[in-house]
Symmetry: C2
Subunit: 418 residues, 2 copies
């Protein structure tokens, strides 16, 4: 049996705690072990403790046989970040939109001018599956270099049956061929295609796309962009209800640009998450709480759009919601794969504490992806997904910003080389 | 003679142009050569052109003798960033302040509670010169990893004669022993020490510190924190006038927290730069213009303080000012060494174009440091300080954010290894 002992973390941030998403003060409970270590066996965490306990356990004859030992050199060690909202698979970039936004044009103006989602749809449709896989592999490497080991990834730049399936197959292949774990979400209802009415497209999503996605088991979740100009509450309800009947779990883009009832719809349908929530009011928060829906906050897109309408994280925490932070990685509104950058945004712009931000981007994110028992903390039995950072205090992850502090990353006990 | 040919940049961003700081539309003139290359001889740029021209020149027998050739693989190539405002040398960090700010305490509240500049002064005084050098060397490496090859660095965490000299000697040693070029600025008047009145301390700065700094040639510039609660306009004028008489050039922290006349003072004294300017009004901008003072904008500190009062970059550009961007790297208000992060902030929060931001952080910054003829562009005769980025379009430097795109860095023609 293959074993790995990781020793001498300045802070081993275990996040050990209740076997459910963390709320209120629990968000600050990082379960830090100073001079901590891990014993990893066959890709899973076997023992967590002080370095001398790990060294003691490693003296066991059975363990010693196939043992490798790594001195972490007084660094900060976390479970790999879990990024619960990304649009990982797309072709090209949106540099033209970026320049237009620097000239103060709005999201909606840019879309009307031929930019926005539609320009990425055209590039993604034109890309072969192999090209798309090559670009997504580059994105996947960026994530791992930032310390992220699991991402949720949404389709939604295809908007035809074949192109949506192509994107979901790329995710499947990423899962098999890269170190990054990818949790696939079907977001056929990301935008209404230009050659279709919303009604026709909703029918296509429900009658052709969803059954095929479910049959081929290409997605675990279904998502909808519930927003003015995209899919209204009634259309979103139809799509998500159909998805639910097919056994998919639900997530939703809700109340990003307007307080349009998205959060309430996610509560009504028992979704796992409601994402964005920049415009959600107290009633929306209360409905999320009553239905145990996790809010996924995406400060990267608020920042990159030059807005100051950050979601009201403090009120959500006070309302008892199990807050999640994610990058929203996408070429239009959030071109960052970096969870440390999101921690910085959360602390400086949304007044979350470093501990709250870390919990929101590890164990709470894992629960939102139905993987709370498998990843997101450093506890015995979980996958040995471990991120090591070149600093001595976990708060430094959010404090220093805009550059790489990641030192090394382990996925299921294997160190990733770059 | 040692030669190096760098070939096949997707975009060689030369910034070739007038031999003076760039204003107005000139800020957008990046002088990009596609499939460009450089011939470097003895650490200086010899030829700049299309890759085939460089290859042709490299066939010359004299050049071929000691020639190394590097294929840049279709990446973006820039002159190394010039960061014209940093507080590079300090001990420790300010994690406690960072957490307090996440609880919404103000800069001034934190200072009163024992945080702020004073806590860094205490740690810096307590550190030995060797310890301080070790910490600053780590900071210097961060800068180079972000693509920066020259920084201005200010003293100011000593506030006694001996401690200020210690900091300036650390800068001198960084210059000699690390790849980073450090331009030293004496900022004795960074804060009033606790055991002194402002008046007494101004006298100390003028009568003891400045003569010694000038005599030992430990600084090229003198700076003052001209602000309510620090040094008022009259005290700032006294200090900077004394420095000027001793042959030092001038920079100044101006109008950061209040519109207190700092910009006008810098214009009156003919300073090289006025830095911060978050609160400067039209009159302040006009006085900078009339005296050719360069504004140094520091969006990193606005961001990290959770403020939205970014300096009015667009108005300054329209007023014909030769805008500079810098990190303001320091442990309190701007813990980032990353010029790419500053480009992102400039484009998303201050509505500068990517081209304007790049000019502001290379050639304009070089002129502000009295080095416009030596660094800041890729032109024959200049130091071969070259930053290579893993992307194909210069706009990607500001577009993707929060992670490292730097591929490799050359200082005076030598590749830096990390």
């Amino acid at each position: 049996m293959k074993s790995l002992a990781l020793l001498h973390a300045a802070e081993l941030v275990t996040l050990a705690g209740p076997q459910r998403p963390r709320i209120g003060n629990e968000l600050s409970g990082l379960g830090i072990i100073r001079d901590g270590g891990l014993l990893i066996r066959d890709g899973k965490i076997d023992i967590v403790g002080a370095s001398d306990e790990i060294e003691e356990a490693a003296r066991d004859a059975e363990v010693r046989a196939g043992l490798a030992v790594v001195d972490l050199g007084g660094r900060v060690v976390l479970p790999g970040f879990v990024d619960a909202h990304t649009h990982l698979v797309f072709a090209g970039n949106r540099l033209e939109d970026f320049e237009r936004r620097a000239r103060d044009e709005s999201y909606e103006q840019i879309a009307k001018a031929g930019g926005g989602i539609w320009s990425t749809v055209e590039k993604t449709r034109a890309a072969s599956e192999a090209d798309l896989f090559a670009q997504a592999t580059k994105h996947a490497e960026w994530f791992v270099k930032c310390g992220t080991t699991t991402v949720e990834a949404k389709s939604g730049y295809g908007l035809t049956l074949d192109d949506e399936l192509k994107i979901l197959r790329v995710m499947q292949r990423l899962n098999q061929e890269t170190p990054l774990e990818v949790v696939p979400t079907f977001l056929g209802a990301h935008a209404v295609p230009r050659d279709s009415s919303a009604g026709e497209y909703v029918d296509l999503v429900i009658n052709e796309m969803l059954p095929r996605v479910a049959k081929e088991k290409l997605a675990e979740f279904c998502d909808v962009f519930c927003e003015r100009g995209y899919f209204d509450v009634e259309q979103s309800r139809k799509i998500l209800s159909s998805a639910k009947k097919l056994g998919l779990k639900l997530r939703g883009h809700a109340d990003q640009l307007t307080n349009s009832g998205g959060a309430k719809l996610m509560a009504e349908l028992g979704a796992a998450t409601a994402d964005h929530l920049e415009k959600t009011d107290e009633q929306g928060m209360a409905s999320l709480k009553s239905a145990n829906v996790q809010p996924v906050l995406l400060p990267g897109s608020v920042y990159a759009l030059g807005s100051t309408s950050y979601p009201r994280a403090r009120e959500m925490i006070e309302a008892g919601l199990a807050v999640v932070l994610a990058t929203d990685f996408n070429p239009g509104s959030s071109p960052t794969p970096s969870m440390p950058m999101v921690l910085s945004l959360a602390c400086t712009q949304m007044k979350m504490s470093p501990a709250e931000a870390i919990t929101a981007s590890t164990i709470n994110a894992a629960y939102s992806l139905n993987r709370g028992g498998a990843i997101g903390t450093l506890e015995p039995g979980k996958a040995a997904n471990v991120a090591v950072f070149d600093c001595e205090d976990h708060r430094e992850l959010a404090y220093w910003f805009g550059f790489r502090q990641m030192h090394s990353v382990y996925v299921r006990g294997e160190q990733i080389s770059f």
